[in-house]
Every structure is written in structure tokens, then in C-alpha cells.
Symmetry: C2
Subunit: 240 residues, 2 copies
Amino acid sequence: LISKSQIKSITALGQKKYRQTAGLFVAEGPKVIAELIDSGLKLHSVYSISSLKIASEKLELISASELKKISFLKTPNEALAVFEIPSEEEQINPKLTLVLDSVRDPGNLGTIIRMCDWFGVEKVICSTDTVDCYNPKVVQATMGSIARVAVVYTNILEILKDTSLPIYGAFMEGTNVYSKTLPEDAFLVMGNEANGVSSAIESLISEKISIPQFGKSHNTESLNVATATAILLSEFKRII
Amino acid sequence: LISKSQIKSITALGQKKYRQTAGLFVAEGPKVIAELIDSGLKLHSVYSISSLKIASEKLELISASELKKISFLKTPNEALAVFEIPSEEEQINPKLTLVLDSVRDPGNLGTIIRMCDWFGVEKVICSTDTVDCYNPKVVQATMGSIARVAVVYTNILEILKDTSLPIYGAFMEGTNVYSKTLPEDAFLVMGNEANGVSSAIESLISEKISIPQFGKSHNTESLNVATATAILLSEFKRII
């Protein structure tokens, strides 16, 4: 059985301020939960309608209707766990660092973190107005890779001012990325879904790059930011 | 004012069988609606809380609470339009044809149609169990490009049996796509989110390709199907 105060404290974790005060976040579904436990994240509590798929002393069995009360999903997926937000990692000096300038959609951020894990991008630096990576929808979309990619929220302007590495940025009017030889050590800046890279950051970009449009249409929306990030990370990482 | 029977017939368009009977689908938001009108799709009816952003004789002004009743979005976006589903296009013989084998997530299909428009892929052939492209969530994610990409639902096995073109397919154990010289004329098959390409289709694949994993982790989920499609289309289209 799950108490009213437990329900209240779990559902409060849908909001960033409560996540930050409590130092906790929610992940759902046996597969994602198992992956986060395996990755060494500290489990705070875990609730499931079955004891079959999650091995933990902390497991509390609950009913499907109780799960519905605490879940952030339209269709709850068997189990919900609360994990401790890891403390900021020691300094990582990755080769390629992804910088997100005001990415707002949780699904986009989650998809981007998942592809960073795939491509071995160890660090993502986000502007403070980028959607919180411990937002339940982001955690869901990362499919567990949030435990393996360091996501840092900070003043990205200061970071980019201080670096001697080349700073690449995605712009509609940038040069064709396929014609470029890209370095191993660099920053790659991706902008907001509607407005792209902000003008303050734009002034610090050393190379504006673009994915050329092959379609005939001229009123096509730009590529979705997660799609564009996938293609650019692939260009940085591919063997030439 | 919008009548109860209008509300009923619009909300019914959330279901595939009603879309097929009526030959109609829903699109929301002034930007997407304007793009679909521009693309030459036939407008059946359009409802908006303001007359500012949509120029059409068919425009009916409604209240925000009326819009809420007919909208498929959590946060309705000013306007909702009903369009006629275009009749199947005459034979297009595109260079690169994308084939989707049981892609189920509406957001994934929408994102894929949007990137096809960008990359000039004119035709997407879907297995009959792929999510319907006129599903409201798919239409939303395409951002209007559904009017410019021909999406066909058919027995993909028959199509692939009949072609003399090379058939590429995305597989975890395929050869490194970056090491391949890819042809202009080909089929590219992408599989289901959880299970990949089905075994019946697998037997028809002439070249299994894969996006290599650069991260250290071995328990990473595969790339999301929309992310993988973006990278593979980029590889087919990029200048070498």
C-alpha cells in the first residue's frame, strides 16, 4: 500500500523545483529502471505491480490503480522508481562536447541524450533555460542513457568564451557540413526549436554549419533539432 | 458556434476507420494549416479562435472552449482544420525509396516524413501495420510536410520481391554504413521500434547496414528508429 503523502511526494517530482529540493527524480518501466540500477545510480524507492522484473530489497508491490496515481505516463508501465540525482561529476574533458542553447522539448532532449550515449559524447552542456534532464518525459525518452551521459546546466556563454577549441554551430545559412573536415576536439552548439542559436552565443561560433536541403520544397520547416543533432554527431564521428 | 454533431464527426477522425470512411483528416495550428493549404491539399473545414492567421472562406470562428472540445492536443493551438485525404498519387519512381516495416510510434513516423521532405525522398512505403500517417499526432509531427511526401500503405513484401534495385536494411549486426559506397537508386528498409525488421522482409535484404556504436556502454538501447533513419538518409544523400 502506498500512502497519500508518498503519492504527493512522488507526483511533486514532476516539477523541477521539487526535484532539486529533494535531489530525486522518477523513472518508469522495468527496462529503464533495471538499466539505471545497473548503471550505479542510487535507488531511493521502487514500486511495481509485479515482483518479476525488478530485483531490489526496496521493491514495494502496489496495485495497478495505485500505480496510475503516481505515474507520469498515460499508460503506466508496470513499475515506477525514484532515484537520487547524481552529484555533478568530476571534471570530464571529452573530445566532442555538445552544447544545447535553450532546447525546450522534453522528447528532443531525451532523444539527444540517448544518441550521445550511442556516439560516445560524454558531456552535454545546457543553457539554464534548457528543459531539465530529470523531467519524467526526458528520463523516459533517454531509455536509461541518462546514467551514462553527464548533463550539466550552466551559463554556456561563459564556457564558450573560455575555450580555445573550435566552436561549431548549426545554422540554416551555415556552410554545407558534408564539405567540411571536422576535428575530433570541438564544441557543437544546437539551438532552440523555434529560434535556433541565440545571438549572444552566435557571436562566439567559429564555424557555422548546415545540413543541405535536398528536397524541392522551399517552405519546409527546418529539420527537428534532434534529427539535426543526430546527423551532425554522425558527421563528427564517422570515419571519413 | 459548433454543433454537437460537428464535434462528434471531428473527434471521430482520431480513429483510422473513421478517417478512411470519411476520407478526411485533422491538422492543427495556424502554421501547419497554412502550409497544407499552400501545398494544394483540399480544405474541408477550418475552425479558429481568431481570424488573423488563416485566410479562407471556410473559416468558422469558435471560442477557446469549443476548440478544446475538438482538439487532439493537450494545449490547443488556435486553429483546427479538416482536410481531404489526397487520392493515391500516380506512379512516382523516386531514386531512393524509404520502406517502413511496422513503425508504430506516431511521433517517429511524423519525424521521419519531415526528414524525407528535407532530404528529397519523395515516397515512403509502409507495411499495413505501420501507424496511419493521417493520425493527428503524425500530422502534427510532420509540420506540414505530409503534403509533399507520398506515403503509401501496402504489402511491402510484394513490392520488395518485385524490384531489381538493391534493398538496404538497418540491422544491429549490419556492416558499418560509413564504409559503404551507397547507390542513388535503392530501397532502404527500417524496422519496428522494438523488434527491428521482420524475418520475412529480412530474407529480401541485399545489404544489411548498421550505424556503429562509439560509446563504451554495452547495454545501450539501439538508436531510436527516427534517429537511425536520419543518419542513414544523410549517408545516402551526402556528397562523398
